[in-house]
Structure formats: structure tokens, C-alpha cells
């Protein structure tokens, strides 16, 4: 079955990512040093009781007495059951850290994607319905402009304009309720959404223009259906394929972008967590985040596959 095959493929991707990350921690330098820092190599006599306990726990958590592959296998088994170990640098369970940080980032990403989709679809439809005319040509210029600005520059610009200069949006992430969450994350989400909007607009516009040449569009028009109906009810759905594909693939880039954005706006998400973890050399946390991010990527792309069948009944998941 197709869907099972895809799931198996995706599981392989996750496996490869975890393997590489785990290998990096274990084979680049001494794993114990990677996990614990200098105490790993210090003279045991100089260590406190706690530090010695850490040493033993780290050896156990990462199965450092086993051969590499066994070590990987057992660690993977723990991950699957949700046991990500513990950060030895700031003494919290990694799973707790993830549980705190992940929802914020997922919220931000979903927010950005929603903004991107909600803006790009009507924009692309509008441009395609006036293909090669002024509106469409100027749309192209604008969207290329949006694609050209790097995320960090966008972040700085929007932050300065809307937070510092006009003080429309709050300076800090505010998590008191959904409204304040949405409001305080608006500029960060827009920063992430802008290149997405442009990408989606480009892709969808091109696909729409070719769909609009199809006979069934002429048939719908000959039936007297309104322009709106023809565009949104007939042309849109068969034109969403490229956009949907990129939607899935873009998840990776979006996570990259949210590292920048979270850092700049001090949003306590996974992007910021990974930076913090890297700065304090906190390998277990970095490792867990890498794994989680790859799982998110894979899950979204499987969802995209399932969505294909919704978009086009000719695509059979079991075919």
C-alpha cells in the first residue's frame, strides 16, 4: 500500500537523521565530554558527589559502555517511549524542556503558514485572472522583492517599524491568553510568512494560468458560472499541487527561519532553545530537538501526501 510505503520511507528519514545526530555526538570527540562538559575528563577525586552521580547517570542514559550500534539502538528505543534523558547543564528533563518549548514554535509556524496561505491564495487567483496584465506583472515584481529579502533583514525592519517606531505591537512575547499570543506573535509570524507568501503566490499563479487554459474551464464558463465561481470552485483545486508540495518541503526552511525569529523576538520556542543549548554545549537537548524537528518534517510531508488525494481523486494512495 502506497501510504504504508510512504510512512516506511519517512521512518527511514527519521532514522537517518537520528543516526547522524547520534553519531555526531558519539563520534565527534568524546561523547561523555559532549554530554557533560569538562567534568567528564576531570580527575574523579576533584568532583563533587553530584558530579560523580551525573557521570554515572550519563553513562547509563547514553549506554556508553555498550558498542556504538547497540548504544544507538537502545537510545532510540528510549526516544520512542518519550524518554529524552536529562540536560546535565541546567538539570531539567529534556522532555519537559521540549514540552514547554515546542508548542510555542509549532504555534508560530502554523500561524505563519496560515497567514501565508490566506494571503497568497487570493493574491495568486487575482493575478492569474489578470495574467500578463498590469496587476499580474506588478505582483511578480512585488513577490520577487519579498523573496529577495533575507529573514533576518525582514525581522529587523519589521521590528523597528511596528514595535519600535510605531509601537503597534508589544516588545515581548505575551502568553497570557490566545489573543495576546496571536497579537504578540503577529510580527514574528509575518516575518516568517513573507517569503512563503511570495513562493506560494508564484507557484499558484503559474499553475492557475495553465489550469485556466483547460477545456473544463471553458465548459464552466459556457455554463454561465460567474468568474468567481470558475476561479475558486473550478480552477483553484486542480492548481494547488506545486504549492502543497512546497508547503511540505518548506517546513524545514520555516524551522530555520523560526530560529532567527525566536532569537530576535525572544520567543521561548524550540528555535531559541536550540541556540541556548548550543551555546551551553548541551548536546542532549540539541540531539532531542534535531530528532523532534525531523519528526515534524516527516509528519507534515505525510499529511501533504494524504492531502494530494483530497485535491485530486485520480491520485490513489494505495495505487
Amino acid at each position: 500500500m502506497y501510504i504504508l510505503k510512504r510512512l516506511a520511507q519517512m521512518a527511514l528519514v527519521v532514522l537517518a537523521v537520528t543516526f547522524l545526530a547520534f553519531a555526531a555526538m558519539n563520534l565527534l570527540g568524546d561523547p561523555l565530554t559532549n554530554i557533560l562538559g569538562p567534568i567528564a575528563t576531570a580527575d574523579p577525586a576533584d568532583l563533587t558527589e553530584d558530579q560523580r552521580a551525573d557521570l554515572i547517570e550519563a553513562r547509563e542514559t547514553y549506554y556508553l559502555d555498550d558498542p556504538f550500534l547497540v548504544r544507538y539502538g537502545r537510545w532510540l528505543g528510549d526516544m520512542v517511549t518519550g524518554d529524552f534523558g536529562r540536560s546535565f547543564k541546567n538539570d531539567i528533563k529534556v522532555s519537559t524542556e521540549l514540552a514547554n518549548r515546542l508548542p510555542v514554535t509549532v504555534f508560530l509556524m502554523v500561524y505563519a503558514q496560515i497567514i501565508a496561505v490566506v494571503i497568497s491564495i487570493p493574491w495568486a487567483v487575482f493575478a492569474a485572472s489578470r495574467a500578463y496584465r498590469f496587476v499580474d506583472k506588478s505582483s511578480t515584481v512585488v513577490s520577487f522583492g519579498m523573496l529577495g529579502i533575507p529573514v533576518f533583514a525582514l525581522v529587523v525592519l519589521l521590528f523597528w517599524l511596528f514595535v519600535v517606531r510605531f509601537q503597534i505591537f508589544p516588545l515581548r512575547f505575551d502568553d497570557t491568553d490566545l489573543g495576546s499570543r496571536l497579537w504578540s506573535l503577529f510580527i514574528p509570524a509575518v516575518s516568517l510568512a513573507i517569503p512563503l507568501i511570495a513562493t506560494y503566490q508564484r507557484l499558484l499563479r503559474t499553475d492557475l494560468i495553465s489550469t485556466l487554459q483547460e477545456d473544463f474551464i471553458a465548459v464552466a464558463r459556457a455554463k454561465g458560472m460567474s468568474d468567481r465561481h470558475v476561479l475558486f470552485r473550478h480552477a483553484l483545486r486542480p492548481s494547488l499541487f506545486s504549492m502543497l508540495t512546497v508547503f511540505g518541503i518548506n517546513t524545514g526552511a520555516l524551522i530555520g527561519g523560526s530560529i532567527v525569529v525566536e532569537q530576535y523576538f525572544q520567543i521561548p520556542g524550540i528555535g531559541r532553545a536550540v541556540i541556548e543549548a548550543i551555546i551551553r554545549d548541551d548536546f542532549p537537548v540539541v540531539l532531542a530537538i534535531v530528532v523532534i524537528v525531523s519528526v515534524i518534517f516527516v509528519v507534515i510531508n505525510v499529511l501533504v501526501d494524504i492531502l494530494y488525494t483530497y485535491l485530486d481523486p485520480r491520485v490513489k494512495l494505495d495505487g
Binding site: 473544463f216 471553458a218 464558463r221 455554463k223 454561465g224 458560472m225 460567474s226 470552485r233 473550478h234 485520480r314
Partner: protein
């Protein structure tokens, strides 16, 4: 009473990056209520473009001249309330390729009912009932099942039946069928044509049947218009076209009528040469280079359209007509 649909001196020019394409030139056509008009001509003669002009389906690159009137109303300048009901309700069109005429991502039921809901404001269930009736009317096997299916689950013949049902959804007074069987298997072709004939008769609907095959319209239409190179070559009642052919092009088309029993792809006597390049404005008769009767005059003067003496329905555009028009010309000379 004015004809149901009348095209007067219609011209269409496409402005392409390579220059203008003179796709339709000074075409006059008319269809009476309840009657059938056949438009015949080889591929590239401007038949589809002419009909797209009526249906408002031409791209923005097209410059349109002349006028189209429906029931005495200027089609290019319909009052907005009438406009909404013109396409789909007054006039419906069936296209050449049933494989591409249906939206691949919408169920048959949705495609059949959307026009009824939009134009007649039918409720979903009323529209579904009517759609089912239409599918029965076009004799689709197992209509209930078809409603829930997607186009790719249907054969070409069934799809064309769905397209026909869709065109009938709002009881049009005029049905334009643009080569409705060209893309279908020979065995299905006759069935579909017979179905169209029958529907036309039952519903007292006018029909324009477009084809490249004169044989198709022979027994099915009241009048025939022959087009070539974007021009009207000959127009007459169906009887006159066959009994007293005036134009050499019509004559050539008659010789190339394929037999219904022949395999698809084989031809009888095809007309030598190929249709003209419409990006070049002709200086004479567009058929002259392929015409056995052509004289130097034919490539220097575009023949006017004139009536066959003694007939009020028969017109042709040729310097050297055949049949009775030719005989009269010889007597006068």
C-alpha cells in the same frame, strides 16, 4: 420573426506576438428556432473561434468585429440581468473533447447540478433529482452510480453523455455542439449524434452542429454552412448543398466523406494540400491554391458572397461555381 441567433459580418483577429491571425472573416450565419445548422470545414477553418465568439470565450487577444444577436438582442451588449441567464440557460455548448471537458476533481453530480443551483436557485436535493433525470435522459448506464463518480472513472462516450446532460441542465433554446464526436470511437459516434438529434427534436431546441465531416450533418441538419480559411464558402439548406453544390470546396468535402463503418484514422479522398496560413491576409479566394478550377483571377480577387440564382437560401463565394450557379454564369458570359 428574427432568427434565434444571427451572426452578421463577424470577424475575429487574434493579436499574437508573431502578428495578427485573421481567424474569422466576415461570417454571416443564422439559426431559426428549433432548427439545426451544420457548420462544416476542415480543422483550422475558424469554426470553433466563431462559436467561442458567441459564447464570449475568446481570450483578450481577440479583436471582434460585426454583431451577434440572440432573439433580437445584441449578445455583446446584453443587459446585466439577461447576461447572467444567456450563457448556460439560453445557449449551451458542448466541446470537442469529452476527456478534458469535465473537471477532474469534481464529482459528476456536482458538475451537473452547479448550473441549476446557480441559474435556477434549485435546492441541492431538487438539483440532484433533476441531474439523475438528465443522466437517464442521455441514457447513461447505472446513472445513480455515475452521480457519485469522478470523470476519470467514466469512458469517453459516457463522459460526452455527461457533458450533454450538463448542457441540457437549464433547458437551453440553442445547443452548440462543437465536434461532439470527433474524439470518440466510431462505434460511439453515431449513438451520440443520434442522441443529440433525438433531444433536439423532443425539446424543440435549436442546434448548431459543428463537424469537419460533411457526412455527419447530411441527415441531421436543416441548413449547412461551409467554412474555410475563416470564411464562409457556401451556405444553404442541407438539400441544396448536396443537390446543387456551388462551391468547389464543398464538392471536395463531399468526396472526402468517410464511411461510418471505416476504422478511425483512415480517409477516403483527402483534399490535396493544406489549409491556408491565417496570419497572411489573403488577396484572393483562400481555397484557390488547392482548387482544381482555379484561374489567375482566383488569387487576385476575393470572391463576393452571392446568391445562387433562383434561391433565397443558397449563397456561395466563388469565381467559378459548380452546379446551377455555374450554369447561369456560363449563360451570362
Amino acid at each position: 420573426m428574427a432568427p434565434l441567433l444571427e451572426l452578421d459580418d463577424v470577424s475575429v483577429t487574434f493579436n499574437t506576438p508573431k502578428g495578427p491571425v485573421y481567424a474569422v472573416n466576415n461570417v454571416n450565419l443564422s439559426v431559426e428556432r428549433g432548427q439545426a445548422l451544420g457548420i462544416v470545414g476542415e480543422s483550422g477553418s475558424g469554426k470553433s473561434v466563431t462559436m467561442k465568439t458567441v459564447m464570449g470565450l475568446l481570450p483578450r487577444t481577440a479583436t471582434i468585429g460585426g454583431s451577434v444577436t440572440y432573439d433580437g438582442l445584441d449578445v455583446f451588449d446584453l443587459p446585466s440581468d439577461r447576461r447572467k441567464h444567456f450563457y448556460g440557460v439560453d445557449v449551451a455548448m458542448i466541446f470537442q473533447n469529452p476527456m478534458t471537458s469535465l473537471n477532474p476533481v469534481k464529482r459528476i453530480s456536482a458538475q451537473l447540478t452547479e448550473g441549476m443551483k446557480y441559474h435556477d436557485g434549485l435546492s441541492s436535493s431538487a438539483a440532484d433529482d433533476k441531474a439523475l433525470e438528465l443522466l437517464e435522459l442521455v441514457r447513461i448506464p447505472d446513472p445513480k452510480k455515475r452521480m457519485k463518480q469522478y470523470p476519470h472513472e467514466l469512458s469517453g462516450g459516457m463522459r460526452q453523455r455527461v457533458v450533454i446532460a450538463m448542457a441540457l441542465a437549464n433547458d437551453p433554446s440553442l445547443l452548440i455542439a462543437d465536434e461532439p464526436t470527433t474524439a470518440l470511437d466510431v462505434t460511439v459516434q453515431r449513438d451520440i449524434l443520434d442522441l443529440l438529434d433525438q433531444l433536439k427534436a423532443e425539446r424543440d431546441m435549436a442546434m448548431i452542429l459543428i463537424t469537419h465531416d460533411l457526412g455527419v450533418v447530411k441527415d441531421r441538419t436543416d441548413e449547412i454552412a461551409v467554412m474555410y480559411g475563416g470564411r464562409l464558402m457556401e451556405a444553404a439548406t442541407t438539400g441544396e448543398v448536396f443537390a446543387d453544390t456551388a462551391h468547389p470546396y464543398t464538392e471536395a468535402l463531399q468526396r472526402s466523406i468517410p464511411d461510418m463503418t471505416m476504422e478511425r484514422g483512415t480517409r477516403l479522398t483527402p483534399i490535396e494540400g493544406s489549409p491556408p496560413d491565417l496570419s497572411i491576409k489573403p488577396t484572393g479566394c483562400p481555397f484557390a491554391p488547392r482548387c482544381g478550377y482555379a484561374t489567375p483571377e482566383c488569387s487576385t480577387a476575393i470572391p463576393d458572397r452571392m446568391p445562387v440564382p433562383g434561391s433565397t437560401t443558397h449563397v456561395f463565394a466563388c469565381h467559378h461555381p459548380r452546379g446551377s450557379a455555374g450554369a447561369v454564369q456560363e449563360v451570362n458570359a
